[in-house]
Symmetry: C3
Subunit: 439 residues, 3 copies
């Protein structure tokens, strides 16, 4: 009937961290961009775990103020020196090529080449990640130290890419619950070999979808795997009329490192998801950072644009752009760990648990306290200083269940974990002391 | 016409601390429980000071989810060793017997006796206070050090008690004021020889009632002396329809020690009583603790159950359960002092003063300031840096008395003591600059 | 069309600090009081810069609870010792005579004279400033050190003053804007030789009026130069019906020292002026003090009396009465400086800028973000960690311009300077991405 009792047994497993890590490892090498075969290959890997529905939207399609761009694919790229040695080789890291680079094959001087090289002078050993989706350009990314040591000579430069009419590809999976009200879980699939941003999020959501599909839930759960920005915009444009079915949502990215956890609230600021995840993180034993909404970041920018204003927040471990690995070659498989992935997974599962089970109950005997002893609910020898604490959840629920407060409201007010409040409420409900308010 | 001017002369007296202490001393030895002759004897002592109305409610009477239990009385109890020596003697401390113990008279081994002995291992010299109202049982309480030294032998155990159909007894006294709106003052009378919890509260309220009866007041004052929990529930059940007459209320307990003061707000959190006593305590020169409501404690649990939600808070000095003397034999007459009792009494009297005199006034000349000098209300030589401070109460009252704010609102906003705001308002009223809003 | 673009060019000039200081210097020696020729002479100096309208209100006129007093003028005053030496000489400092002193010319002992002497024992070298407007009296002010050294002898005391039926004089200047809604700027003109309090404020407003008159503005700007208290009351009494035209207002005093800045909010506490100047001061790089309204101070007391409750706050540098120079001869031309005056002027000009330009706009493409790159509004190479910051104002405006928030709301929410938010909004408006809400 509800998710709750089953979470421990079914959503969370011993092996979950390892399974997520394995999938992240599998999709890490793929050269993804906002369109092209890298996205398709990634969606096929996800589809090996859940019955993913894949959508292809043609180049030129209007989606609000945007237009689906031409599809980009790349086969090879390198810079060769005069001796024919590859000083930069796409096959060793797909970060070497600026995403959406137009094809080029020419010899050129170091001076000309330099116009197309991107480095990080302050992190001289790392390759940066760069894109040029909407302005025709080409470029290479490399460690600054290597770039500084390139001799003055003539280089052969190749980017064997194509930019042609094609499609934007995204995948989604809907787990149907008791109601058509939806919980949206969204991860971007447009970044190439960056492990935390966002192989970690894609892999986590895939395994969450795989497990939730076996459960009966109150809400329907929609998992969306789409390229950042243009993908979310495309989905919103194609689902404009149904978007208000989304009652709660999370954008998931960078969930494999040991930082944070970080939660950025939805634009509404006090949506149920904001309160549920805030509660979960405060009771996690970690030291979470909860941020108010700001209009920069991941796809919550689109979900929270004023015309939609959906209750969708962003869950991460470390806060994006605040770690040195962000958008560099240091965001590799060494940066993410199975135990961190498992912890992130559990935090999300516990948040779903709150959302599923939160409800307003009514005390059926609101005048004075019930005689709890009669129901076997109370220590029998009074006066004991210690007896009090154990009964507090019961007393709080009875006192505050006047039809205006949900269990989450009560848990927050009483500063008790939702799990204890919920299990206590169940006990009171079984004894007839509490009644579920008609939803 | 109102309480205010008279408080100094009539409610508070030089001897009040000593008088309260004397009554507390007198009722301290009585063996009270939630029913029985100990309660009746206590009410008779109160009745020597005020015209108390005593109620007897038969065993078996239904009061909401509860039932009036059988009446418990006890004549004697002891544990004798094999030489006939009383190792525990009820006549030396009534805390020795678990309240509501069923009768027993048997010889038994130390092992069997141990099943019925309660001690405090961490406070080995103190006798704990224990009860077993709603489950048939018997037991003795003793210092842990004594218990550890009991030799292995056969003991004669006697509890000469009775548990029979009878009555629950409580007393109340109503001082009628100008209106039928009531201020409830409630103390529990079910604890045996515990001086602070609650001989202090019973004695304080008795003397407050004795003095207030001579005064004309705006509110009617109801003093309730009833056993904890079941007594308050009984009163609420029998006065269910009239309970909404209670506009303000305080539960009083543990008012004889030098700690705190502590105030626990009503469930409403911003009731007039919450604001009035908060104001009084903040301006008391002490360092008060103001707590939000929580559903554990004294009879405010029942008054603040969601079906009643009365504006009743709890006033104490030290916070209950946070002092080592709580519910032990160390809560004796050495723990309470006349000066602490007098201070607690004054804080309550000052709170009543705020409640009685708070009202909304209107500035009769709201456009610009009145020319205060004309009325002799203002220093004559301007420019003096010091002159300003003395006039602030006057200026605040005139500025904020626009029909939306009461004197207490103004005192809190301006951070001035209510007494100064009220006396200044009276002066302005006499000069026609201020008008009492029709209530 | 609006003030904004022109502020830098027209309201604020290089020389403004020096010009304000020059005017303050010119009016400093004049012996002002709440009536009389000193006020007229001051208004003539203001009138040399703006087309001031001067009002004369006869003695005896009723203004709310007050009455226009007799007009006071003074020609000379001294205390001569027995050798005919002037030990106190009005012509050296007009602070020497208590303002509104009645005429006196007598010989008297030191003992009798002492009854009429005011000093500052804790600041023994300074002359205090004292007045006695509404009770007939006379007196001298002098340094305490000098007073202590006066020998016991007979003194000749002269105050050549007159207190006769006449007029209260004030001046005002109205700059008409696009609407009849007014911004009131008010300075008191009743203090004699006190440079900061308030030659500084009078001179600053005069030059602000002189410059604003050349601009087209949204609001009409009313500049009021009137004696403190009785002047503001007189103006309010004569403009009672039109007072609600005042949508924003500032009382200006003590703006020439280097302290603060200090802003005391209007009685409303969250009026637009309170928010606009609060924003300006927070972004000023200084460490402002923002105070809640209290009913003591300058003419905001009258504007914020409950019957008017106008949105008028008080702007100062140092907080009045908190500096040792306050109301003493140390508040002289050495205490104020052109650069401080210029800074105060700029802060007020920037506040006017916020008030003029704040408005609610609407995002014309509220569903998802517009493709900012299309409009040349966005860095072309993505992924750069630095690119984000520069775009934040744009993203905030688009995200929050849903018809419920003004630019000031957005600037405060995003913690960005209003100037940046406003100029960015203009850019978005020109591109059709933002639309001004119908006012």
């Amino acid at each position: 009937m509800n998710l709750r009792g089953r979470l421990g047994e079914q959503l969370v497993t011993e092996e979950i961290g390892g399974e997520i890590f394995a999938l992240a490892t599998k999709i890490f090498p793929i050269c993804r961009s906002i369109t092209g075969n890298g996205v398709r290959q990634t969606l096929r890997e996800i589809g090996a775990h859940v019955a993913l529905e894949t959508h292809e939207v043609p180049t030129g399609t209007k989606v609000f103020d945007w237009t689906i761009p031409r599809e980009w694919n790349i086969r090879d790229a390198y810079i060769k020196d005069s001796r024919g040695e590859k000083v930069v080789d796409f096959t060793r890291s797909n970060l070497h090529v600026v995403s959406y680079s137009v094809p080029v094959h020419r010899h050129m001087s170091l001076a000309e080449l330099s116009q197309h090289v991107y480095t990080l002078p302050e992190q001289p050993d790392l390759i940066p990640y760069r894109t040029s989706y909407y302005s025709e350009n080409w470029g290479f990314c490399m460690p600054h130290r290597q770039f500084e040591n390139l001799p003055e000579e003539t280089y052969e430069v190749l980017i064997d890419s194509s930019l042609e009419d094609g499609y934007l590809t995204y995948g989604e999976y809907l787990h149907k619950g008791e109601t058509a009200d939806e919980f949206l879980l969204s991860a971007h699939v447009c970044h190439p070999s960056l492990a935390n941003d966002n192989c970690s999020g894609v892999a986590l959501l895939t395994h969450l979808a795989k497990r939730i599909t076996r459960l009966r839930t109150r809400y329907s759960y929609r998992f969306l795997f789409a390229p950042g920005t243009i993908g979310a915009i495309t989905w919103l444009a194609r689902n404009e009329n149904n978007s208000q079915r989304i009652k709660h949502g999370l954008v998931i990215s960078m969930v494999g490192d040991g930082g944070g956890p970080t939660y950025k609230k939805s634009r509404r600021g006090n949506a149920k998801i904001d309160r549920a995840i805030g509660h979960t993180l405060r009771h996690s034993g970690l030291t979470p950072t909860i941020l108010d909404f700001f209009p920069y970041g991941y796809d919550e920018r689109q979900y929270c644009s004023p015309g939609f204003n959906l209750p969708v927040g962003l869950f991460q471990r470390s806060r994006f752009a605040e770690i040195p690995q962000y958008h560099t070659s240091a965001d590799n498989l060494d940066f993410i760990r199975p135990d961190h992935l498992a912890r992130s997974y559990r935090l999300i599962a516990e948040t779903l648990d709150v959302i599923e089970n939160d409800a307003i109950y009514r005390n059926t005997m609101p005048k004075c306290e019930p005689q709890l002893g009669k129901y076997g609910l109370y220590g029998q020898v009074g006066g004991d200083k210690e007896a009090a604490a154990a009964n507090m959840a019961m007393l709080w629920i009875l006192n505050l269940s006047d039809g205006t407060r949900s269990l989450l409201d009560i848990a927050d007010h009483a500063d008790l974990p939702f799990t204890i409040v919920f299990s206590t409420a169940r006990k009171l409900q079984q004894l007839g002391l509490l009644l579920l308010d008609a939803r």
